[in-house]
Each structure stands twice: as structure tokens, then as C-alpha cells.
Amino acid sequence: MKDTLARLSQSFGPSGREEEIRTQLTKELAALDKNLAIRTDALGNLIATKPGDEKRLLLAAHMDEIALLVTHIDDLGFLRFSPVGGHDPRLLLGARVIFANGTMGTIGREELKDKEDLKLDKLFIDIGASSRAEAEENCPIGSMAVFAPHFSTQGSRIMAKALDNRAGCTVLLEVIRNLPPVDYQIDFVFTVQEEVGLRGARTAAYQLQPHLAVAVDVTRTGDTPEAPVMAVELGKGPAIKVKDRSFISHPRVKDLLEETARSQDIPYQLEILERGGTDAGSIHLTREGIPTGVISIPTRYIHSPAEIIDYRDLKNAALLLCSFLQHKDLFSSL
């Protein structure tokens, strides 16, 4: 599981430009050799279907990551950019970024009178080009960059870029690897454009029309020095979401997840995220409404070049989801 996560987290997949991560995930799915029907839809969601009876479950994890979009190149070859997804200028300054073709860049800033003036439009990417032409050839307007790959472990902790949400993708792959025999259909969806507004999940849920859905994503923690109040910690188990800005969990789906965790003795936490949203926000409002739950991997420093999770939470999330699939009242109780 750790190796899978290493491969996925280092893969390139900005919102709206998910070709590379999609190819990587397709490879991973092929290697698992589970006879899933695999396809890509109009927006680029990757959908792997385990056929079954008329009941349908959707499992979603977004595969896109936040990025920078090149919007302007000046005469000296510096690149100006727009954020793709939620970026904090303080975390960008000095970060190293990489383009699809492997070009590396670092982020510099204009001279500022006041530190408060540190806004995204005062920053630029320096790829080391010495002219506009050189920059245009390597990173034309419209190209996107993500944080440079990095993957390291310390004890049970994992540090990498894009754990949001390659951690969730890894959980889905792990569930497929250990897929329990169930009668109903499962659509595993690796969604696009979550970071820019939960977009891929919306069209995926529309076409798949599931009766029940679970999204797997990351969530914040409150376990760092002087952190904002939040009762989620690394290593205390996957979090079962109660609420975020986009979503209030379906009471029965949340209970089913909790019942599963308790009966299987899987540690878990309850999550109330005051900001942010996940694919579940789109999914549960699709068509006539879809009962939806969320399993979250507690993650520190989300949307930074180095996010940290605990490997045990990742494993337990996969275990929880696998056990959940076998809950006998999965569809009947909704």
C-alpha cells in the first residue's frame, strides 16, 4: 500500500489536466487484474465498474491535485500564474514546482514593502529561462505545474505532496485488491476537478445513478502546536465525516460506518470540518439525492508541498471500507 501511495503521490495530475495520474491509475487497476470494466467519461473521470445486481454503490476519490496555471510570460522569461485550487501564497514562496514535461521551477516574489502584501499576483515562477522564447518553449501559457515530487517516511508517518487525495485513491485501490464477494454493483470513480469545485464527482454521480455513495478524501487535524480547534488527530484512525461546508452526512450512512468500525474493532474518529468540502458535497445532491458518507484520512499541512499522514490511518480506512461493503443492511436500511 505504501508503494502504491508513493507512485500515486508523485504522479502529475493538476485539476483539469489529469492525463498522467489517470494513466498511472489505469495501470494500477490493470495490475490488480480484477476484471473491472474501465472507462473514462466526458470530463475525464476514471470509472472502474464491478458488475452486480440492480443495486449500485459508488466509491469516489478525487485524483486531481492543486496546481499553478501559467497565464503570462514576460520578456525575461518569468512566468506569472493563476492558482488552480486553494493556494496559500505563504506556502508557495520558495516551493519547487514541476511541469508535465519535467521542467522544474521555483517560486519567487516581487520586492514587497509590507509582508502583508504577499498575494499570489506578487509571485512568479522562475524556471531558469533566460528569455521569453526559452520559457515559452518549455512552459507555454496554459501549462500547469504542481509541487515537486517527494516521498519519505518516519516511523508510521508518511510525508509527500498530493496526499490530498492520492491517499484516498490508494484506499480505493486497496479495497479493489481485497474486494469482498458482494452481489451489488460497485463503481469505483477516480474523479477530476475536485479542487476547483467538486466538479467531476457531479457528472459521474449523474451518469452512474448510485443508490449509495462513499467518498474517500483527506481532512484537517487539530494536533499541531496552537492549531485551530478540531478534534481529529493523526494515528487515531480514519475519520467518519459528520459535516463540512459542502455536506452533512446522511445519518444512516454515518451510523452504518460507525457500526462497522465498532463491530470490527477498527479505531475511528468523528470529523466536523468547519471549512472545505469533498466530492460528497456534489454526489449527495445529484438527481433525486444520494445517501452519502465520507471516510477521511487525517492529514497535516493540506495543500502544502509536504503533507503528512499516518500509515495506520490509511490501512484502517481501507479496512473500514472493505468491512462496510459487507454490512448486511447496506441498502435495506436507507
Binding site: V229, P251, L285
Partner: protein, 378 residues
């Protein structure tokens, strides 16, 4: 409960005019409004209020059920030959509230608002904590003596507020109050002068009461339209229940019943509408022009007073979602003027409530297939 009632009646005795209104049966729906107002139903956790409503609507309609996201949908069939215009009446049943986010040493609870609650109104409120079994609590804050000089002039920030449960052990509370537990303000409905009532969650339990009142009126009338009364969930967190229920029902047209701001000192004339002068008919891009006109004409015909609420946006009502569901659903918005919105003393007129029910019933009675067809012709 008794105390409140007798106090209200005492006042009424002294006022001839309001006693007359009582004979007009404005008070007919008081008990229902009181019951619905007291029920718990914070956005996303509406089971209790839904249950109560299912019982209320059951005798008035042909069938009533909850959909997958919890919307209550009551269906009353139309009479006469096919086709039957399909009309949806929507009123949200969720209320704003608080959600427990953390249990602190000493038996205190931290919380986050659900929906746009006015945090300034919270200190000193009595609350009900809807954990495994209901608990009482109060919302406390640092006493004035201990505040820094500047602090007193500012509203207390939300993250410095907490709920005191009377319990002193964190462990004890953890058993009873899982994180995510909803909290509501404990408040009885108060009857004020002139048939005004004040209480919690009148936004939009008053709208839900109108829904019931309309069905009540319809039992006495012949109507061709198939009527779907929907008490929607999760309006206060982003008109979510309306979005899915209107998709599911795909009605020919919809009327949303909600509240708008009442008149009060310091509020401009086009922002606040007088209480007791009838429902405010929404007018703007979100409202189908012919539905507005028809509602207005119906009100004139049957002698229901009305006001006009012009608004560039539906300002966060279910109409926002319904109008653009599927291929588009012609939608109207009817609002009850209400003062002190999103506080625990929301105040409105029972007379408006009753008249709105009557207006909607008459509107539905007049619905014919040809009218519906015309709604797509511009």
C-alpha cells in the same frame, strides 16, 4: 405552556379587534405552529420534525412519505380528466442550530453553527442538547468582571462561546454526547398582541404550517391539479433538499413558501415588510412573471391582502434551486414577513399565516393545463 396561553388570552381580552380575529380562526393553526416550532430539526437532522409532520399531513392528503434525503413529500391527487397539472409547494422544515465539535475538560461543549445563526444572540441562551438522550444546557461566556476593558464593547467571538451542561466530567459527557450532536435553543412559543407570535424556528416552521393550512383548505375545494407538498431539508445550509426533491418530482410549476424580513426600526422600507398585511409575493428574475401575476390576481379576487417583494435574487430560498432543476421549473415565491430572523425570538403574524394558506389553495384551485403549457411561451 399553560402560562403562556393564559397570558396571551389575557391580552386578547382587552382588544376587541383581535378577539374578532380569533373568531376568524387565525388561531386555528397556533397549536400546529407551536408543536412544529418546538420540534428539533437542525439542517441535516430533521427526523423529529419530519415525524411530527408526517402525522399532521397524513389525514389531509392521499399519501405522504420521506425521500432518500429526508424531504417529506405529501401528495394530494387532483380531480377531473387528465392531464392534471402537477404543482409543488415547498417549505423548508430545517432550522438553524449548533453542532457539538469538542468536549472539554470540566464538562463544557464547544460547537460550530449550522446555518447562519446570529452568534451575538447566543450568550445566556438556554439550550437543548440532542445527544443519546436530551440534555439541558446554557451558553456561557466569560463574566463581565473578568473581561478586559475593551472586550465588553465587542460581541463575543464564536470560538469563545461554550455550552455548560452541568456535568463536570469529560468522560461522562462523551458517553452521552457524540461529536456532531445537534443543539437547539429551548424556547416556548409566545403569543404577543395582535395575533403576533414569537419563538424559535418560525423560519420556516411557519411556512410548513402554511403548507398544512393549504392542504386543509384544499380538502374543502375541488382542484384539478395534483398537489405535492414538500417540507424540504437542509435549506439553511444551501437549499439542498429543494434541489433533489424538485428533480425527483419534476413538477410543472412550484411555489416556495418561506419568510422574508419584517419591518422594524432601522430597516429600510424595501427590506422589511409590515406584519399582518398579508404575504409578500416575490418578484424578480427567480420568479416566473405569469405565476406572480396569477398569484396577485388570485389574492385580489378572494380578498387576501398581499405585498410585493422585489428582489434581484431569491436571497437564499428554495426557489433558487427549484427554478433551475432539470429543464427548468416555473417557480413563485410567497413569503411571510418575520422579524428578528435567525434568532430565538422570530416574530410573525398568525393572520398572515392563515391568509397565505387560503391564497395558495385558491391559486391551486384555479390551475388548468392550458395555463401550464403557456408558461414556456415567451
Amino acid at each position: 405552556m399553560l402560562g403562556i396561553f393564559s397570558r396571551g388570552q389575557q391580552k386578547l381580552k382587552g382588544m376587541e379587534k383581535t378577539t374578532n380575529t380569533k373568531e376568524d380562526k387565525s388561531l386555528e393553526y397556533l397549536d400546529l405552529l407551536r408543536r412544529l416550532s418546538q420540534e428539533q430539526g437542525v439542517s441535516g437532522r430533521e427526523a423529529k420534525v419530519a415525524e411530527s409532520l408526517l402525522k399532521t399531513l397524513h389525514p389531509l392528503v392521499d399519501e405522504v412519505e420521506r425521500d432518500r434525503l429526508g424531504n417529506v413529500i405529501a401528495h394530494k391527487k387532483g380531480e377531473g380528466p387528465d392531464p392534471h397539472p402537477r404543482v409543488m409547494l415547498a417549505a423548508h422544515m430545517d432550522e438553524i442550530g449548533l453542532m457539538v465539535t469538542q468536549i472539554l475538560e470540566g464538562g463544557f461543549l464547544r460547537f460550530t453553527p449550522v446555518g447562519g445563526i446570529d452568534l451575538r444572540t447566543l450568550p445566556g441562551q438556554e439550550v437543548l442538547i440532542h445527544g443519546l438522550s436530551p440534555l439541558r444546557g446554557v451558553i456561557g461566556a466569560k463574566p463581565p468582571h473578568l473581561q478586559e476593558p475593551g472586550e465588553r464593547k465587542k460581541a463575543i467571538p464564536g470560538d469563545e462561546l461554550y455550552i455548560d451542561t452541568g456535568y463536570s466530567k469529560k468522560e461522562e459527557l462523551e458517553e452521552m454526547v457524540p461529536l456532531g450532536t445537534m443543539v437547539t435553543i429551548e424556547r416556548d412559543l409566545q403569543l404577543l398582541a395582535n395575533d403576533l407570535v414569537a419563538g424559535k424556528a418560525l423560519d420556516n416552521r411557519a411556512g410548513v404550517t402554511v403548507l398544512a393550512a393549504c392542504f386543509q383548505e384544499l380538502t374543502r375545494l375541488k382542484h384539478r391539479a395534483d398537489v405535492y407538498g414538500v417540507a424540504t431539508v437542509q435549506e439553511e445550509v444551501g437549499v439542498r433538499g429543494a434541489m433533489v426533491s424538485s428533480y425527483g418530482l419534476a413538477p410543472d410549476l412550484a411555489v416556495v413558501i418561506d419568510v422574508c424580513h419584517g419591518d422594524m426600526p432601522g430597516v429600510a422600507e424595501d427590506e422589511g415588510f409590515p406584519l399582518g398585511k398579508g404575504p409578500a409575493l416575490g418578484l424578480g428574475p427567480h420568479v416566473h412573471p405569469r405565476l406572480f401575476t396569477t398569484l396577485k390576481e388570485t389574492a385580489q379576487e378572494i380578498g387576501v391582502p398581499y405585498q410585493v417583494e422585489p428582489s434581484p435574487t431569491p436571497a437564499g430560498t428554495d426557489a433558487w434551486a427549484i427554478q433551475i432543476a432539470r429543464e427548468g421549473i416555473p417557480t413563485a415565491l410567497v413569503s411571510l414577513p418575520l422579524r428578528y430572523m435567525h434568532t430565538a425570538v422570530e416574530t410573525l403574524s398568525l393572520k398572515d399565516l392563515k391568509e397565505t394558506g387560503r391564497l395558495l389553495a385558491a391559486f391551486i384551485q384555479g390551475l388548468e393545463p392550458a395555463f401550464v403549457e403557456g408558461l414556456s411561451c415567451y
